[in-house]
Symmetry: C2
Subunit: 159 residues, 2 copies
Amino acid sequence: MSLTIEHAQALSEGLVDIGTAAEASGVSIKMIRHYETLGLLGNVPRTATNYRMYQPQHLHVLRFIARSRKLGFSIEEIRALLGLWQDRQRPSAAVKEIAAAHIHDLQARIAELQGMVDTLSQLTGCCAGDSRPECPILADLAGGADLTGGDPLMTACHT
Amino acid sequence: MSLTIEHAQALSEGLVDIGTAAEASGVSIKMIRHYETLGLLGNVPRTATNYRMYQPQHLHVLRFIARSRKLGFSIEEIRALLGLWQDRQRPSAAVKEIAAAHIHDLQARIAELQGMVDTLSQLTGCCAGDSRPECPILADLAGGADLTGGDPLMTACHT
DNA sequence: ATATTGTCTCCCATCATTGGAAGGTCAAGT
DNA sequence: ACTTGACCTTCCAATGATGGGAGACAATAT
């Protein structure tokens, strides 16, 4: 394909080095190299002196990764999405399926966290939060294994 | 305090081995040993043959940890809560402060995840999800740079 | 006596990201 | 020529909680 070229020549041809790529994509230099080792960037050209030189296409991939990470996709999901992105024949259903599964995961995590918030909110609502030692929060944590029947909090808290 | 004893003798004195402790507390054997190395269990007695033997007090702590973990507290938060739990003079305000800070963290994480869900839901709502290649999800991830040469107008979705 | 659990310690893997250090090479400005 | 800064590689570490496995020893049941 393309032979190795010199640094200045590559710059004049629109390629950028890793520092510029990091700045342009919002991905740190460390992570750019990391993603390359994960095979997400394909072949990255090098100069004769072994400098990585990035084409606009690589910057697009880096921005794609950054955006996907912000949406919580895992690396393996991103790998799949990148494959679909670069496949002009892909059915949009394949992409939608990944996204739907991810939404499902996210909602499960939200529900789990929300359950924690609900329980803790009840407990803190029942805790005087003063200098006295009585504390329904600790009472709940200490009695956690005995929560077989009812919530001891509800019997102890009459707010 | 107590010298090392034999296994059978310890059992007859009400101490239990790690397997029984795991079953009784809901904490895995692996994690029981891990929590011990983190200093959350204090001194755990050993038999002459180096078996860990747990007293009822240790089981209480393990249940406390298990319950706290279910509520999303970190190990360091649990360490603090355990300290307060075992301090009869603690002010409940100290406990409530930890719980309130934790609720704040949980809500921040929920908001972050919910933002992802909102964005992704909008995108999947715009995605036909059929055999055609046009996909607003990929178009968004690509940030308007579509390697497939697709029509940028396909990103438009007016739901 | 033996077979089967149970337990011991120690090491490694996850997941994504970041950091540092060591030991070089290279590009650009003075 | 020289300095400075950017880049190269490889290795190691840590996050946080959890799990898996190896190899050795102990307890129990047959």
